[in-house]
């Protein structure tokens, strides 16, 4: 009988199992997604603000190629002739062709650069939509959030415009499933970029407790830059004049130049009075993408404990870049050039002495002639104190000197005392530093303003701006000193201009000053294109560098069509040739 009861029970169990699986079948097949959020959950104030943070995060191209970096180390500096790829031939070999102006449209990093900028735009657009749809957000918060998002969107489009010229313009009204893939690429987007920055300029607050946010004055400075890129010199002049007179940083510091040049690039001095808009960097975030992950290859090589990073010997300053810091005995740069386009500073008698072809064990006598002091904040070279590490030992810190030359990058490199306090040591190299990268800094604004003044205003005002920048560089307290003797590491001579001469000469001066002040910060290539001097300058550069770096540059040349990158082939493949038209020359 007992057996029968067990049996009965078992039958009941199986019958109820049958029933159960029938009864809750519909709910049973609804399994909500885990570890993520639905859009509706982001309509709260915190959600909208979080989406905005996510948009800022994309400034650094997180999750995309290192070439999508905000410092444009490849697209701006390497292709501008300030640096070469560095390292050895095989490592990251697709940069080889980029530095030779032979970019193939199917390059993966090219595509990733494009994707990174549009990811930023997608996040900005999503933030705008979330803000507009949020009932929890106050009107003032809504305006601010939208203005910040439009500032960021303006930035991403500005980058796309400079890199690719003709791009599809998508705003918050377009999305997946609403025909976004049918928007054709067009060069005509300057007006829209202006409109975003104008909106941000008109609506952003001047200050915020969050130092990393874009403020009114950052928008103003960026708007001026956008005018300058369109040669709208009068608009640029007016905008810069207001920004210079009234601008302050988001954390409330009146715009100015920090007293020592090197302090611009020191993590201990982040968000200083010169930082108009910067990509914020930090450690201990659980991911080195937040610690200038795009720059992790750009350190001297095989330094051991004596030097920073150790990896991977990329981004080596060029011979030409070093020579540009040669000054005359009165402390002014050499502006002349030869009939064949060779700048005077690249003449044999002016070029900076270097240890190319020498090992660390070989004897080397350092250059004793006058140099702009900024050379040793910008370029790591043999015998010169390298931040607070050691004197640069030359070849021992260079991965492949015959291939890439004798110099190391220096500006965005951390100090020894900052290791593991202002660097993130949690990944495969030590080269994750927390100094912010300045997208626009005040010296840049002064020099852009000087350009605008030269083109559409007063040479005297321009002279003042240029000299302001030079005077800071001339602060002897900021010179690189020998660690033992305390003496200057080289024969630093720098003075201010007494006059800019005529307009043509003034142009030469301001353009040279931009090179010297902003070298390796990613501006150069775009400046050259903007000035219409890229062809002459870059071909002269290739000719000069290939005297030594033959494997790297032999046979390379720059054509006018190289001013603009090809539209990534894979995007054309996805969207079709009727939507995305390839740029000329590709």
């Amino acid at each position: 009988m007992k057996k029968y009861q067990i049996l009965k029970r078992l039958s009941l169990v199986s019958a109820s199992a049958f029933m159960l699986t029938f009864a809750c079948k519909d709910q049973f097949l609804e399994v909500p997604p885990t570890a993520s959020l639905a859009q509706a959950q982001l309509s709260s104030k915190a959600g909208v603000e979080g989406a905005l943070i996510g948009t800022y995060a994309q400034l650094a191209g997180k999750g995309f190629s290192r070439l999508a970096a905000p410092n444009n180390w490849v697209w701006g500096s390497i292709r501008g002739g300030e640096n070469n790829k560095g390292t050895d031939p095989g490592d990251y070999s697709n940069i080889n062709v980029m530095q030779r102006y032979e970019v193939p449209a199917n390059d993966g990093d090219l595509n990733s650069t494009w994707q990174a900028k549009y990811e930023g735009i997608a996040r900005a657009n999503a933030t705008i939509n979330l803000a507009n749809g949020s009932k929890e957000l106050s009107a003032s918060d809504k305006t601010r959030v939208v203005a910040e998002a439009r500032f960021l969107r303006g930035h991403f489009y500005f980058e796309l415009k400079r890199l690719f010229n003709s791009v599809p313009y998508v705003d918050e009204t377009q999305d997946y499933g609403k025909g976004i893939e049918k928007v054709v690429n067009t060069p005509d987007i300057w007006g829209k970029i202006e409109a975003d920055f104008k909106f941000a300029y008109d609506n952003l607050p001047e200050t915020s407790s969050s130092a990393g946010r874009a403020n009114k004055w950052a928008a103003g400075a960026y708007l001026g830059k956008v005018y300058l890129y369109q040669n709208k010199f009068a608009d640029a002049k007016a905008t810069f004049t207001t920004v210079i007179a009234n601008g302050k940083t988001t954390n409330g510091k009146k715009y100015g130049l920090v007293s020592k040049f090197a302090e611009v690039f020191n993590a201990e001095n982040d968000n200083n009075e010169e930082a108009i808009f910067a990509v914020q960097s930090s450690m201990n975030t659980g991911n080195v993408n937040n610690a200038n992950g795009f720059d992790d290859l750009n350190y001297p090589y095989n330094t051991g404990a004596d030097g920073p990073g150790n990896c991977c010997g990329f981004f080596q300053p060029s011979f030409s870049m070093a020579n540009a810091y040669r000054v005359s005995a009165d402390g002014l740069p050499l502006l002349g050039e030869q009939a064949d386009g060779t700048p005077d500073y690249n003449l044999a008698e002016n070029s900076v002495k270097n240890d190319y072809g020498k090992t660390t064990a070989d004897a080397f006598t350092e250059d004793a002639d006058p140099l702009d002091p900024r050379i040793d904040h910008t370029i790591g070279r043999r015998g010169i104190q390298y931040l607070d590490w050691i004197e640069h030992p030359g070849a021992n810190w260079i991965r492949n000197q015959p291939y890439a030359g004798p110099y190391s990058p220096k500006k965005y490199v951390y100090y020894k005392r900052q290791e593991n306090t202002l660097t993130d040591g949690s990944s495969w190299t030590r080269g994750y530093a927390t100094m912010n990268f300045n997208i626009i800094r005040f010296a840049d604004v002064l020099l852009m303003a000087a350009e605008a003044e030269i083109e559409a205003g007063s040479l005297a005002t321009a002279l003042g701006y240029i000299n302001q920048v030079r005077s800071r560089a001339a602060n002897p307290a900021g010179f690189v000193k020998n660690a033992k003797t305390g003496a200057n590491e080289a024969n630093y001579v720098i003075s201010t201009y007494s006059t800019l001469g005529d307009q043509a000469n003034a142009r030469k001066i301001v353009r040279m000053e931009r090179l010297l002040e902003l070298a390796t910060e990613g501006h150069r290539f775009f400046d050259l294109v903007r000035w219409g001097t890229a062809n002459k300058t870059l071909n002269a550069y290739l000719k000069y560098e290939s005297k030594w770096l033959v494997t790297k540059f032999g046979g390379a040349s720059y054509q006018d069509t190289d001013a603009i990158l090809p539209i990534p082939q894979s995007q054309i493949d996805i969207q079709g040739t009727s939507v995305l038209k390839q740029n000329p020359g590709y």
Partner: protein, 1078 residues
Amino acid sequence: MKNNFYQSLRSFLLLAIVMLGSFSSFAQDRKVTGKVTDANSEGIPGVSVAVKGTTTGATTDANGAFSVTVKSGNAVLTISAVGYKTKTVSVGSQSSVSVSLDEDVSQLSEVIVTGYSVTNKKESTAAASIVKAADLQIAPTGNVEQMLQGRVSGVTLITNGQPGTNSIIRVRGFGAFGGNEPLYVVDGVPVGSTDFLSPDDIESTTVLKDAAAASIYGARAANGVIVYTTKQGSRGKKGLNITYNGMYGATDPNVDGAPKMLTPQEQADWTHVAYRNNAAANGTAVSYTHPQYGSSAQAVIPTYLHANGLNGVNNVDLAAITAARASNPENVFLIKANKAGTNWYDEITRVGATQRHSLGISGGTESGRFYLGLSGQQQDGILIQNDFARYSARFNSEFSLGKKVKVGENLQFTYRSVRGQAGGNNGLGVAGDESVILSAYRMPTVIPVYDEFGAFASTKAAGFNNPRNPVRQITLNNSNDNNYNANAVGNIYVDYEPIKDLTLRTSIGGQYNAAAYKDYNYRYLGDSEPEASNSFSEGQSYSFAWVMTNTANYKFNWRKHGFKVLAGLEALNTGYGRSIRGSGINPFSMDLDFVTMNAVQSPVVNSNLFSGVNFYSLFGKLDYNFNEKYYFTGVVRRDGSSRFGSENRYGIFPAFSAAWRVTSEEFMKDLPAITDLKIRGGWGTMGNSNNVDPANQYSLYAANRGNSFYPIDGQSSGANEGYYRSRIGNPAAKWETAVTSNIGVDATLLNGKWEVVFDIWRKDTEDLLFNVPLPAVVGSAASAPSVNVAKMRNQGIDMQIINRGNLTSDIKYELTFNNSFLKNEIVQFAPGITNLVGGSFRGITPIRMEIGRSLSSFYGYQVIGYFNSAAEVASSPEQSGKGVGRFRYADINGDGKITPADRTYLGSPVPTYTGGVNVGLTYKDFDLNMYLYASAGNKIWNQSKWFTDFFGTFEGSGKGVRAKNSWTPALGNAAEAPIWESASNISTSAAENSWYVEDGDYIRLQNISLGYRIPKNIISKIGVKGAKLTLSANNLLTFTKYKGLDPGVGGAADTSFGIDVGNYPVTRSFNASINLNF
């Protein structure tokens, strides 16, 4: 639906009862009882006893006894059972009959276990293959599925030599762009991997290949189903049956077969050759600039490569360096050149030992049976600090509660540990990784393993670029890195037979999996790119998957019509759970007893949770046969899955198949040579959704530290949480459908001397779910939704031929040939999309899938030779970076210049043929088995050549001997590599081209084994019933043209397949095993 199903079930049951009633009305006359026994006089349960010419019959009970009613005195009984030869017996006037059945060795008797029902090969209309348990036990593989290689036609299996690793298993091709793993079912429980199974516990392995066989699994069957059944005890046997299987073995790393590297002097000489070539190419003077080899034309290796900051020196101040080292041991090295050369592959490998012990205890009574299996396996990899261990305990039992109810369970607990495993996807991805095996080729031979102070030596010595000492990597960073896994899998079931031949079964099964890992990495400053921090990470996860299955099986005969009906209902979840992992750097001490997440700096904790996918399914199957001559099977299954939105959640997958047993026809009686001949045909559909993310229907946002966090407040430590759109949803996605058709022949000739199984098949996957690449303007961080847009076709021929017989009266042989031919082709992508590009390796993108080609096809420039002269450089089409001695590419589109548009299809990694020959010989108490495996028609992308065969790819790092046959004017197009030089551009190392593509064909003597069954009269004295000794050698010989370490190159599978960056080779091993039966 609910009511409908219930009603139909009820009517069906009623019908069944009515029909049963009608049968009983035929019964009359006298009763005959009897017993069916095997060769050992043990009763055989479950034997079918039919009265010839009637529909009357019976089945034997647990003791082999039966009782049947016969009409007349000349009744004849047909007695048949799976695994035995059918016998006919005249009853005559006897009232009791004893029948002894002979075992049937032919395949026809083999059992096809589909998980829901059991049938035998003879009756099957479907394409299914069975692997004998014995075949699974021979090789020392960690995972049982590896032994399917070549033994089952229609199955592509690619594995590597790493113990405890997963394999690529594809049943009848590659149906989709991912998730092509077959469904594994163990005792009715679907499982994601079978790595927990002990080979000695397996009773049968059945591979269900076509829709007719597999579509009972409906939505999850498109990639085939592999059904494992574990061992059971036998009812009614007296006493216990105890078996012990023990195996010892050793695996040899095949150092001599490893690619050859340049000796130290050769490496130095060829560095100087490169400098001369550079100078010639650039038109400059030669300068010998390597920091080690001197500045004159003849390269000289210094005594010391590195001496505390100095490179390439002959004399050192030993006292000073010793003092410096004492004060700064991590940073000071004294590295002496190893002029004899370090064989790095030899240094990182060893002869690996393997042992496995299994104890099986089974028994039964009339009312129950049980099996207990205990097994332990330890296996060393050929890499040092790499090993695998698995301990399992299995408890299977079944008991009768009265006559109508049986309850049973199958349960296994497993503990698994893998140490130092390389490669993603449980080791499967190792071929495509830059692993320590690649490090062995990147490390120059001149560098010693240790420096003069006994520390690891490495590229602190200048001029050798960035490889890492692999002995150091393994010894420090792998030796304490384990993955642990504790797993319980099993089911409990109740069988209820309310009326004869109607079985209602309910089964509840599940799998609980708990995993943990730990990973220590040590600071080491002796590399040019040093590891700067000590680091530690660990993590744990658990998941629980369950399945509930209810089935009703009913079989009945009516006159000459035989019916078998199956109806079922299943609900399951593929696994829900959580995971957590933490990492951090620089604890105070790396003492293993000290380090926890509490001790590290910058701790980062991440976790995840997942809900799995729910399936709800109804299925039914009807098997019909007329007079054992014509067979028909219809299967239909309706599946609902939570992967899909409500509009397309359900898919219905029918399949039909039929067979004609020609030998049952009268006219075949004149052809006694044909023992059995059956022609089969089937058509059906199966579903798939493996490749679809469970959240595919939703648009989602997420937070990600590396992607959407930002320190907005300007802080230098920590960041604010931000969100980004992580997924764009497609609520309209629906099931992928694989439409399969299959025509097959099963033939047995000359009374089993020959057997042939032949299938020709086609599988078209339609509505293929495909992540249509989104245009970047949508935002590329969001995962693209799967959309039903693509089509794929697989077709092939599966063939098995068996020949067996006696050579002499003592020598029996059996030859089995398995052959599979496969063609895989992408038929359609989304509108406007013609290709899909795979991942890239150091800037090389080898894979592009396009319409008309196979999955994972290789794509690149076609090398037509080298530029053999300056004149040839000048006269050939424009080509970026062209120069003397570099690759010359074909101008495919004939536009007079070489551009990316000139890249072309270079081959496929999918083998068009795989097969095997098994030779079995038995002589008295000896048996000899030999097994050859062959794979052909595939290409391998030998990406390791990127590192070893160009001077300019990481200049100074280790290079291979093909350097010595690199281009010279004299060698011309016969050169094995381009000119030895620094340049890296698309004419040298920086482009995907046909030079990397090699034939992947190979034949491997996979196993040869000799067994000796110790005669009973010897062993019975010590209480042993049976004993067998076996010696075997695995992978003894491999014939291939492939230049890499091993032609069996898998990789991450599906869309990243056949790329060899540094594979973990399958190498030869030797085993001795003993099987005892008590």
